[in-house]
């Protein structure tokens, strides 16, 4: 396998971007098609890589190494393991569908797709990097296009939201950067040579105090992106303001960068630090789940509902990380994937409705299933995925997280609290989720036909692409989870081995 497939996945959008730069601004259709082709290439390559990935062998595959800055041990080294491969696939699916969800974009089309492709390049880059320098570099590359995309093409307090999002993300990443530099320097001292290679860094023995400190930095840095409570506020505002494709990418993929970073850099490099801070994460994630879901219940704007639902759902991912065992980590990664697809579906549909109705206020809708049965069906399926219905991808993920954290036998706060109690609280989230999701479905799509919305057309043609692709993905991995979990487990196994090998230490409380 000499073909650098991962690099190709990442560069396909760049090539598309360069082509778009050359296309005159008024050739809007050509621009869109170019973007679609570029992302389609990424998608196909990602699927090929997903299929070719050898679960039995596990570990990092499709490796490619190019020496970059030798004096600092920086290499352009890419590769995917069982955790990052699904993320790459997720990104490819979401961006591909996102392009179609933006098909009716008419404002400054050229710039839009340029920034969109720039953004996605960064996201791909993070997931395929094995080198911490490139990891961080790509991580940040995604931020600024996001600002412009939201600022220019957004809605509802877009400038405020764009700035808020950018600053939250950047401040967060600042902490992560400090952590990364500290790790690099520590490791360079221990190893005697400089390296940014994650695997090599993971082999270094960091002392406990260092681990606690750096993991905390990582927790803040990546936690903002997850988003962990109380650093979550950029996300509902950002989701609401962003244009459809950006919301999709943003909630679908960008939040996963945070969780992925937390696992890949935080837990993997600092298992003892992770053990120390895990109880804090566990407690905060309950706030995420329950508080987020309850807030979602009283939102009046469709996008705010989904925005807060993301906060709530990412809480599950955090729970999976906090529980630090095989099942829960498998679940966390699977949930990242499943939530990405699910929330992308939601945003695609809401975008569709908003584009035609020019409002997202739930109270103004009602009975939309009459005019838009396909959208209603898609939304319902998304909702069902969201509430964890078996047969859809999210169920498997949430189930694994729950059972993983539930079976973790560790008491906190001197026995006042335990992972089991926290898991029970988190599981109660499925009830709240069902309530708000179905309430929204009911209030938006069910009920008597409103003539006011008779002019709305149902999704058709290219608009169906996102709905079909995303729903199919949810169902495929929902019915055949081993397609997904076998791969994820091959990536989680070494991580868990590392966690288990780490000293048993008490948590923060």
């Amino acid at each position: 396998m000499n073909f650098p497939i991962l690099t190709a996945i990442m560069l396909a959008p760049v090539v598309g971007l360069l082509f778009i730069l050359l296309i005159p601004e008024r050739e809007e259709l050509t621009i869109k098609i170019t973007a679609a082709v570029a992302t389609f290439v990424s998608l196909v390559l990602a699927i090929v890589a997903y299929v070719l990935y050898d679960n039995g062998r596990g570990g990092l595959q499709f490796l490619q190494d190019v020496s970059w800055v030798p004096s600092f041990g920086i290499n352009y080294s890419v590769g995917v393991d069982g955790m990052s491969m699904p993320m790459v696939l997720l990104t490819a699916i979401v961006i591909f569908t996102g392009v179609f969800a933006s098909w009716d974009m008419t404002k400054r089309v050229k710039e839009f797709f340029i920034f969109l492709l720039m953004l996605v390049t960064g996201v791909f880059g993070v997931f395929i990097s094995r080198d911490l320098f490139f990891f961080y570099l790509f991580f940040e590359v995604a931020v600024i296009p996001m600002y412009l995309l939201i600022g220019i093409w957004g809605s509802t307090r877009k400038e405020y939201a764009a700035m808020k999002l950018t600053l939250y993300l950047l401040v967060g990443s600042a902490f992560a950067l400090i952590g990364i530099i500290a790790t690099f320097l520590y490791a360079a001292q221990q190893l005697g040579h400089a390296t940014f290679d994650i695997q090599t860094l993971a082999a270094v023995k960091y002392d406990l105090g260092f681990q606690k400190f750096v993991f905390f930095l990582m927790l803040i840095g990546f936690g903002v992106l997850v988003p962990i409570w109380p650093l979550h506020l950029w996300s509902p505002d950002g989701h609401v303001a962003a244009p459809t494709a950006v919301s999709m990418l943003h909630a679908g993929v960008l939040m996963k960068l945070g969780a992925y970073g937390l696992i890949r850099v935080g837990v993997f490099l600092f298992p003892e630090g992770a053990k120390y801070w895990a109880p804090l994460i566990a407690v905060l994630c309950i706030v995420n789940v329950v508080y987020g879901a309850m807030i979602a219940m009283v939102q009046k704007d469709l996008k705010f509902v989904i925005g807060y639902s993301s906060v709530s759902h990412m809480g599950y991912v955090l729970l999976g990380i906090a529980a630090l065992n095989t099942l829960s980590l498998n679940g966390a990664v699977a949930q990242m994937f499943a939530h990405g697809i699910m929330t992308a579906l939601f945003f695609a549909l809401v975008g569709n409705v908003y584009h035609k109705a020019h409002t997202r206020e739930i109270a103004r809708f009602g009975g939309l299933a009459h005019q838009m049965p396909r959208v209603a069906a898609g939304f319902l399926i998304g909702g069902l995925a969201s509430l964890g219905l078996p047969g859809l991808n999210n169920f498997v993920a949430e189930f694994l997280i729950f059972i993983g954290s539930f079976t973790r036998d560790q008491s906190l706060l001197g026995g006042l609290l335990s992972y089991r109690i926290l898991s029970i609280l988190a599981i109660s989230g499925i009830v709240i989720t069902a309530t708000y999701v179905l309430r929204v479905v009911k209030n938006t799509f069910f009920g008597p036909r409103k003539p006011e919305w008779d002019h709305l057309e149902d999704a058709r043609g290219v608009e169906m692409v996102p709905i079909v692709v995303l729903v199919a993905t949810l169902i495929l991995f929902g019915l055949l989870p081993s397609l997904q979990i076998d791969m994820i487990n091959s990536g989680v196994a070494p991580l868990v081995a590392k966690i288990e090998a780490a000293k048993a230490i008490g948590g923060i409380f």
């Binding site: 600002y147 400090i178 530099i181 320097l185």
Partner: protein, 476 residues
């Protein structure tokens, strides 16, 4: 003769400067635009020469040091001067007179910086400094028709002279304490004699003098006013090159003459760095004039560069060198975009940038990415520079300083994005024309943008150059 060969760059620069002066007198008024081209070509040529002798080292006349460190900075000054010259073509032509003098002063200021960066001896250091300062005083006040420009000039000349006096007083004390004006000998004397009150006091005065040049808070106060008033290309040149020269000299003096006192002066630099980063960034937030905004931003950049000094390590010097070079392109890029805009619209107000992305995608993009580089956002080169700086500082254990620095650079994103917001989110005013940019400026902007991108993604060549030079400086 070997020693004269080492001086090739300086001699050529001096010759170019004088030649331009003469040319300005000889060439008829209408053809004077050509002088700019000559200057640019000359600077480019000299840069080639400088690059070709980047590994040369030696000492001329006991006190003038040619080493990779100095040559690196010379390349930097020449690059900045070249960009400033290209940037000036249209701007100066609009002013309508004395083009020969303008370019001559530009080149002579460059010569001053070169001397500053290379001098291993206090007298020549002072000479270089003054050559640079006086040339800049005139350049800052060059727009005779503009009261702001005159005010900038007089502020610069008076405050510059005061700071020179302070520096000189410090130099005199150090001379007294070390018994010599040659930096190496001073170092030897300090190592033998330890810290005397005169030496400490001298150090403080020298520090104040250099802090003035590198616009470290609280010695920065001249800079926003001068930057705002001076002609835009001059501001650009002043903000990058004079600062870099200040750092080069600062490193030479403090690392060369006073390494044994570093426990003492590092504390001072920490205080300066903190103040500079915080104040520069905070005050930049409410600015509405692009030049003033960039002035405060460039103050804050000095704060980051000071981190490299604080780290007192090879990595720190390398980081300063790397960052200073990127800073040239980043800041010059922003100023070139500002120049292009002011050539077309005659305004420096940020609100007038509304919708610039529609009127000229290139100018907007150059401005945006230059600012992002200044903010240290990947994949722009500024990120790598900041990474090195923070690495240097964290490797000495100053994690809190690094956190402060990074947080402050995130604050800087806020005000940089205010500019981006105007350019990309705003709508162009009615009946606005596309912004027309001359080909020379266009090329310069694209080149500097490309450099920022390339060095951000593939920083290896410059990293190696800077780090090797730093190593050579630290362990000759």
């Amino acid at each position: 003769m070997a020693s004269l060969q080492l001086l090739t760059v300086e001699i050529l620069t001096a010759a170019l400067g004088l030649g331009l002066l003469a040319l300005g007198l000889l060439v008829p008024q209408k053809d004077r635009r050509g002088i700019g081209y000559v200057a640019a070509a000359g600077l480019a040529g000299i840069m080639g020469v400088a690059l070709s002798m980047r590994d040369a080292s030696g000492v001329v006349l006991q006190g003038y040091v040619i080493d990779p460190f100095g040559t690196y900075f010379k390349v930097l000054f020449l690059a900045a001067a070249l960009l400033a010259a290209v940037c000036s073509f249209e701007y100066v032509e609009k002013m309508g007179f004395n083009q020969g003098e303008y370019y001559a002063l530009l080149v002579l200021a460059t010569l001053g910086m070169m001397i500053l960066a290379s001098s291993g001896e206090l007298i020549s250091l002072y000479l270089g400094l003054e050559l640079m300062t006086i040339a800049f005083c005139i350049l800052a006040a060059y727009r005779l028709d503009d009261a702001k420009s005159a005010e900038a000039g007089i502020k610069y000349v008076l405050l510059g002279a005061m700071s020179s006096a302070i520096l000189l007083y410090g130099l005199s004390l150090v001379y007294g304490a070390g018994g010599s004006t040659v930096i190496k000998e001073i170092a030897r004397a300090v190592a033998a004699g330890g810290a005397s009150p005169a030496l400490i006091l001298g150090t403080i005065f020298i520090l104040a003098g250099f802090a003035f040049k590198v616009t470290a808070v609280p010695f920065h106060m001249w800079s926003p006013d001068v930057y705002e008033g001076a002609p835009t290309p001059v501001t650009a040149f002043l903000s990058v090159a004079s600062k870099a020269a200040g750092f080069a000299a600062l490193v030479r003096v403090f690392f060369g003459a006073l390494p044994d006192l570093h426990n003492f002066w590092v504390q001072l630099f920490i205080a300066l760095a903190v103040l500079t980063m915080v104040l520069g960034n905070l005050v930049a937030i409410p600015q509405t004039n692009i030049k003033r905004l960039l002035a405060y931003s460039s103050i804050s950049q000095a704060g980051y560069l000071l981190l490299g000094v604080v780290s007192f390590s090879v990595l720190g010097i390398g980081a300063i060198m790397y960052y200073a070079m990127l800073y040239v392109f980043g800041n010059m890029g922003a100023f070139m975009a500002a120049t292009a805009f002011s050539n077309a619209d005659g305004s420096d107000e940020i609100r007038d940038y509304a919708g610039l992305a529609r009127r000229s995608p290139l100018v907007a993009a150059v401005m945006l990415f230059s600012l992002l580089s200044l903010a240290g956002i990947p994949p722009m080169a500024g990120f790598v520079g900041k990474l090195y700086l923070f690495m240097a500082i964290i490797s000495r254990g100053y994690i809190w300083l690094a956190i402060l620095g990074i947080l402050m650079s995130m604050v800087s994103v806020y005000y940089y994005l205010q500019v981006a917001k105007a350019m990309y989110l705003g709508n162009p005013p009615e009946e606005s024309q596309p912004v027309r940019v001359t080909p020379g400026l266009q090329i310069a902007m694209i080149v500097s943008l490309l450099i920022l991108f390339i060095l951000g993604i593939y920083p290896t060549p410059l990293t190696n150059y800077a780090m090797n030079s730093a190593v050579a400086f630290f362990m000759p």
